[in-house]
């Protein structure tokens, strides 16, 4: 199974580092797609990013090479020159272009430079994404994707319903805007809570048109007079108005 030349040997023994970069990248990608929490998604994004940076840095590695800072004997800086007792040899140690054999003794600096700036920009973009998360939380009260999608869909439903419903009522155009925030939160109460005992107590006459109130959340929405602050009161009121 692990004999020379087989694909598994290629992948898991000789090129284990690439395999692990791929695994890290996939962990990050999967978290970005499938995780529910927005902060978890951002951690996944950072893992994705570091996997790519790791790949870049590792292709600059040379076996047996030192870090990309000149050794003292190659050091071009004047104050660090190797000075023998007689300083006549000083010019021999001045800045000089390294030969090809010495070049392979230093790690490749180019990927390091590219990735160094990428890390710093990465934390800046992470901060930007986190601020967008905070803003979403401020607007919707949640950082979970499914709850967020639910709220967005509910809001969309309210808005499209609101267009057909509110157009004939042009007397109060400014109320639409003012109650928009309220309506997205109240949407769930419309049909489910209309028969709560509290409403019955407040308006005892609605025990009769129960059928109308439970099945008719759509029609009553269409001809209800104006948006209310309290959805519960609104739906409790509808049957009475229909009756009259």
């Amino acid at each position: 199974m692990f004999e020379d030349g087989s694909i598994l040997n290629q992948l898991l023994v000789e090129r284990l580092n690439y395999f692990i970069y791929v695994v890290l990248l996939l962990i990050g990608l999967w978290a970005m797609i499938a995780k529910n929490n927005l902060i978890k998604k951002l951690i996944g994004m950072s893992i994705f990013q570091t996997a790519i940076i790791l790949f870049y840095v590792s292709i600059g590695v040379k076996k047996g090479a030192t870090i990309p800072i000149y050794l003292p004997e190659h050091d071009p800086h004047g104050s660090n020159l190797v000075t023998d007792s007689n300083s006549t040899e000083l010019t021999a140690h001045g800045p000089q272009v390294l030969e090809a054999s010495l070049v392979s003794g230093y790690t490749n600096p180019l990927p390091h430079v590219l990735m160094l700036t990428a890390i710093v920009v990465g934390v800046a973009t992470l901060g930007l994404a986190l601020s967008v998360c905070l803003r979403i939380y401020r607007g919707y009260g949640t950082a979970e994707e499914d709850e967020l999608l639910e709220k967005l869909e509910r809001e969309d439903a309210r808005n499209t319903g609101g267009l057909t419903r509110r157009r004939p009522r042009s007397r109060r155009p400014n109320r639409n805007k003012a109650t928009n925030n309220q309506s997205k939160r109240s949407a769930s109460f419309e049909s489910s809570k209309s028969q709560s005992p509290k409403n019955k107590n407040r308006r005892p006459s609605n025990s009769k048109p129960k059928v109308g109130s439970s099945s008719g959340s759509e029609p009553t929405e269409n001809n209800k007079p104006k948006p209310r602050r309290r959805p519960r009161k609104l739906s409790a009121r509808k049957p009475g108005e229909n009756k009259s």
Binding site: L16, T50, V57, I119, L134, A143, E144
Partner: protein, 82 residues
């Protein structure tokens, strides 16, 4: 064997820590584990000879990004659903 033992150990630890930081429900713990991930990454880079990148990752990845993650979680709900 293409890699040394040290690299192999850290690379496999990286995968474990990455999964752990996504698996934990508590977001503060998640951020702390992510700091460990960054620090392991920093060790790996120092071993690869990329000292500048390792230095940057130690200050930015393990330092500031953990702090701003925790500062954000402070304003959000701490528990995640998954």
């Amino acid at each position: 064997m293409g890699l040394e033992l040290f690299n192999t150990l850290i690379l496999s630890l990286l995968v474990v820590v990455a999964i752990l930081s996504l698996w934990v429900r508590d977001l503060v713990v998640s951020a702390a584990v992510f700091a460990i991930y960054s620090f392991l990454m920093c060790l790996l880079w120092a071993e690869m000879g990329a000292v500048d990148v390792a230095f940057t990752e130690a200050t930015v990845g393990a330092g500031v990004s953990t702090v701003i993650l925790i500062a954000t979680v402070f304003n959000l709900k701490r528990k995640a659903k998954d």
